[in-house]
C-alpha cells in the first residue's frame, strides 16, 4: 500500500486520489479501450504527427480520461403498463460513477447494450432509455435509438441522461426497454456498459462552447 510518501505524491500528481487496490478484480479489457490506448500511446501509435493533447481523436471529442464502466444490478420486469403490446420486459441497469472526480466534465457518454442472442431480424428494433429518479419513480423516455444490425445498441446520453458542463452523478440508473418492431420477438439484454469521456480542467483547458 502506498503510504504518504513519494508513491502517494506521485499518485496524486497522476490524478488518482487513492492508491488502487493492489489486486483489482481482473476482467477482460474491452477491445474499444485497447484500440483507444494503441491510438493514444506515442510509443504504440508511431504516428508521425503529434497527437492533439486533451483530445480523443477516435471519438472526436475533447477529453483526457476515458472510462469503460460495466453496468451492474441488471434486473428486468414486465413491460409497463402491463400488457403494452410491442414492448419487451423493461430492464434496469445501474452504473457506478463515483470514481469520477467532481471537477471532471463529461464530453461523451455512450451507452452500449448487447443482446444475448444476436438476431438477424433485429431490423426495426428500437431501444428506449429513461432515467430512474429518486424514490423509485421512472422518468419519461429520454431518447429512443434504432438498432443497427451487427452492432451493439448505442445511445449517446450526454445532454439527456447526463448533463453537459456539470459534474456527473455518483450513480446512473437507467430504465431500458426494447421495442421489437414488426418482428414482435423480444431479445434479452446480456450486457450494458458506458464509455465515458471526461476532461479534467485542472490538466486540460475546457473546450469553448460554440457561439
Amino acid at each position: 500500500p502506498a503510504s504518504l510518501g513519494p508513491a502517494a505524491a506521485l499518485l496524486q500528481v497522476l490524478g488518482l486520489p487513492e492508491a488502487p487496490r493492489s489486486v483489482p478484480t481482473l476482467r477482460p479489457v474491452p477491445p474499444v479501450m485497447w484500440r483507444l490506448f494503441r491510438r493514444r500511446d506515442p510509443q504504440e501509435a508511431r504516428v508521425g504527427r503529434p497527437l492533439r493533447p486533451c483530445h480523443v481523436e477516435e471519438l472526436g471529442v475533447a477529453g483526457n480520461i476515458v472510462r469503460h464502466i460495466a453496468g451492474s444490478g441488471l434486473s428486468s420486469r414486465p413491460a409497463q403498463p402491463a400488457g403494452t403490446s410491442g414492448v419487451c420486459p423493461e430492464w434496469t441497469v445501474v452504473f457506478d460513477l463515483s470514481s469520477v472526480e467532481p471537477t471532471e466534465r463529461p464530453t461523451r457518454v455512450r451507452l452500449d447494450v448487447r443482446l444475448e442472442a444476436e438476431r438477424e431480424d433485429a431490423r426495426g428494433w428500437e431501444l428506449s432509455v429513461a432515467l430512474w429518479a429518486e424514490a423509485e419513480t421512472r422518468g419519461p423516455e429520454l431518447l429512443r435509438v434504432p438498432a443497427s444490425p451487427g452492432l451493439p445498441l448505442r445511445a449517446d446520453l450526454l445532454g439527456t441522461a447526463v448533463a453537459a458542463n456539470a459534474s456527473v452523478p455518483c450513480t446512473l440508473r437507467l430504465a431500458l426497454s426494447l421495442h421489437p418492431g414488426a418482428t414482435a420477438a423480444c431479445g434479452r439484454l446480456a450486457e450494458a456498459s458506458l464509455l465515458l469521456v471526461t476532461l479534467d480542467p485542472r490538466l486540460c483547458p475546457l473546450p469553448r462552447s460554440r457561439r
Binding site: 488502487p20 493492489s22 476482467r27 510509443q43 493533447p53 476515458v66 472510462r67 457506478d96 463515483s98 470514481s99
Partner: protein
C-alpha cells in the same frame, strides 16, 4: 534503470540520459494494464562553455544561460554557479489501468517523457 552516473569528463555535457520506469518495480503492475513501463529519461551533465552554446541544428541557446556560463567561467562564485541542465522538450504518455471501481480507465498524461535537455 538508469545509465551509470556521469563524472566530470566531456562526455558529461548536459544531455538526455535513459531512465526506464517499470511499473512492476514500483508495485503498480497489478492495476496498470499497459504499458508495463516507459522511458521517462532525465537530464544530467555540465553546462559550461562552449556546451551551453548550441551546436548546429539545436534550439537557440538561452541568452541568460550563456551569460551565466560566461560569468561562471570568468569568476566562479559560490551560489551563482553555472546554468542547470533541465528538460526542454517533453512528450506525453497514456496509461490503461483498473481503478478501484473495477472500471477500465485510459488516462492521458502530458510531459511525462524527457525528449530533449538544455541549459537554463
Amino acid at each position: 534503470h538508469m545509465e551509470p552516473r556521469v563524472g566530470g569528463d566531456p562526455a558529461g555535457t548536459c544531455r538526455t540520459r535513459r531512465l526506464h520506469v517499470s511499473f512492476r518495480e514500483v508495485g503498480w503492475h497489478r492495476w496498470v494494464i499497459a504499458p508495463r513501463g516507459f522511458l521517462a529519461n532525465f537530464c544530467q551533465g555540465t553546462c559550461t562553455l562552449p556546451e551551453t552554446l548550441r551546436g548546429p541544428g539545436g534550439p537557440p541557446a538561452l541568452n541568460h544561460a550563456v551569460l551565466r556560463a560566461l560569468m561562471h567561467a570568468a569568476a566562479p562564485t559560490p551560489g551563482a554557479g553555472s546554468p542547470c541542465c533541465v528538460p526542454e522538450r517533453l512528450s506525453p504518455i497514456s496509461v490503461l489501468f483498473f481503478d478501484n471501481s473495477d472500471n477500465v480507465v485510459l488516462r492521458h498524461y502530458e510531459d511525462m517523457v524527457v525528449d530533449e535537455c538544455g541549459c537554463r
